[in-house]
């Protein structure tokens, strides 16, 4: 039963991801991205990690792609025109590279010997994740707050030029 669901939803996710790349209009790309992330969240559910799955929906589909969609809407993009002449070459190259890369991966996967380290953290529910986060990975967790501080400052820096222009105009 689980395999069937996995098959269905992984095909769904891959098709949605393809839709992101193939769409002519940016807004359809964003919408396909929503579907791809949603499919990914369902795949996480199938593996039993419900917390990560909910976080995926909350953060990715609920915040990040919304920002993408905002930008696309504010930019008022038009449907892209196709360049007929330049299509076959890149397409053939893309197809060849995808084929080659998948052969490589398949070959590698077939010959891999998987090693189970004894230190694998079996943390899939919230309690164990949070325990790990606050004990073993505490330093990494705290550094990210420093990083976020610098990111907020950089967002202000990037937005400042427009603000200064508008102030100068007034």
């Amino acid at each position: 039963m689980r395999e069937v669901f996995f098959m269905i939803f992984s095909i769904f996710t891959v098709l949605a991801a393809l839709g992101v790349v193939v769409s002519r209009h940016a807004i359809f790309s964003a919408f396909s991205l929503v579907l791809a992330f949603f499919g990914l969240a369902i795949l996480y559910l199938l593996w039993g990690t419900s917390f990560v799955s909910m976080l995926q929906i909350l953060i990715y589909t609920g915040a990040i792609v919304v920002l993408f969609v905002f930008v696309v809407m504010l930019l008022d993009l038009k449907k892209e025109e196709t360049l007929d002449s330049a299509k076959t070459g890149p397409l053939v190259m893309a197809g060849l590279s995808v084929w080659f890369f998948s052969l490589l991966i398949l070959r590698a996967l077939n010959r891999a010997t998987y090693f189970k380290s004894t230190n694998v953290e079996a943390a899939s529910d919230i309690k164990s994740i949070s325990t790990l986060l606050f004990s073993k990975y505490l330093w990494g967790f705290e550094i990210l707050s420093v990083f976020l501080l610098a990111l907020i400052v950089s967002a202000c820096v990037l937005a400042r030029a427009e603000y200064m222009e508008r102030k100068a105009d007034q």
């Binding site: 917390f51 589909t61 609920g62 529910d125």
Partner: protein, 354 residues
């Protein structure tokens, strides 16, 4: 997962879902009659006694009205908008505990579509998906005013998601679990001898933050700038007619119902009868199923009270301006929510026994 279990779950889902959808026609009537009461006028009184059949009349109107589609719209997204906004509203219903168990066919059936162990997080994530219906609906209408309304509405919704998350975090810290059913189970009985054992006594500020933020999430006055009739005609649902508009309408009311359900579950004891514990009820009433009926009735009563409060606030308070709205979220509710979390953490640390 054998056939009986599958059929039980399907029937349960259907029943609970349909029950929640019934809120829509009831709310239509309550809203209009409530508005009339507050504004000192009769309200709908043509269609049936006290206008009770007004929702039916509205539904028939929506069914038979023409569905005008503007010319240059993005077909796919225009048609997808109402669907996208109904989807999250319907999904959230899955997490809400309507009552305790029922014993039928020799099994214990929980009166909740799915007892998810991360139910509160599920609620947060799925409600954040509601933004897409608004955004795509507004943008696909090929109408600048709709786009503006959509932008305003979505920025409002995502801004107010943060106070909701902070309040939810507060509740999680206090109850020690993400599961809504567990939260309700902890609110049974009596507190200090005379108060019902509700969450609101322990987290008043959390309730305040959540209450205000849920008004904004559901686009209700005083936060309904996106749909303000005077300024933007209809905001993001201007270009939609008949059933598609009805879909937006339905989504708003179902959102309202689920928001009230969340408030009841977190702060008002869920499906417990105040002051009475479940075991006492079982003793007095004999059968578990009768107790379950009483509990469901209690839940509905509590939701109804909250819905009436929503309607009451809507017709009493004037609308916020957009910058006031944003300032309320970022400048007032978020610091309040954060301070609340800190205070709760400190208090929990000191009263570890509770």
């Amino acid at each position: 997962m054998d056939l009986t279990e599958l059929s039980i779950v399907s029937i349960k889902t259907l029943l609970i879902y349909v029950a929640f959808i019934q809120v829509v026609p009831v709310m239509i009537w309550v809203e209009r009659k409530g508005a009339a009461l507050i504004q000192d006028r009769p309200g709908p009184n043509r269609v049936g006694p006290f206008g009770v059949f007004q929702p039916i009349a509205d539904a028939l109107k929506f069914l038979f009205k023409e569905d005008p589609v503007p010319k240059e719209v993005n077909r796919l997204l225009y048609n997808l908008g109402p669907f996208l906004i109904l989807l999250p509203s319907s999904l959230i219903i899955a997490a809400i505990p309507v009552g305790d168990r029922v014993e039928l066919f020799g099994r214990d059936i929980l009166l909740q579509v799915a007892d998810i162990d991360v139910a509160l997080l599920f609620f947060l994530s799925i409600s954040s998906l509601g933004v897409y219906g608004i955004l795509f609906g507004g943008w696909a209408s090929n109408n600048k005013y709709s786009l503006l309304g959509a932008m305003r509405s979505s920025s409002q919704v995502i801004s107010y998601e943060i106070p909701i998350a902070l309040s939810a975090a507060n509740a999680v810290m206090f109850y020690g679990t993400f599961s809504l059913r567990q939260m309700v189970m902890q609110q049974e009985g009596v507190l200090l001898g005379f108060l019902p054992n509700w969450g609101i006594w322990f987290q008043p500020i959390g309730f305040l933050v959540l209450f205000v933020a849920l008004f904004a999430e559901t686009n209700r006055l005083p936060f309904d700038l996106p749909e303000s009739e005077a300024e933007l005609v209809g905001g993001y649902h201007t270009e939609y007619g008949s059933m598609k508009f009805a879909a937006f309408f339905m989504a708003e009311y179902i959102n309202l119902a689920t928001a009230s359900a969340l408030l009841v579950t977190l702060f008002f004891g869920g499906w417990h009868v105040p002051w009475l514990s479940d075991s006492w009820l079982l003793l007095k009433l004999g059968s578990q199923n009768v107790v379950a009926l009483v509990q469901v009735a209690m839940f509905l009563a509590k939701i109804s009270v909250l819905l009436c409060i929503f309607v009451w606030v809507r017709w009493t308070v004037p609308r916020f301006r957009f910058d006031q709205l944003m300032h309320l979220a970022w400048g007032n509710l978020i610091p309040l929510g954060l301070a609340n979390i800190i205070v709760t953490a400190i208090l929990l640390y000191f009263f570890e026994g509770r």
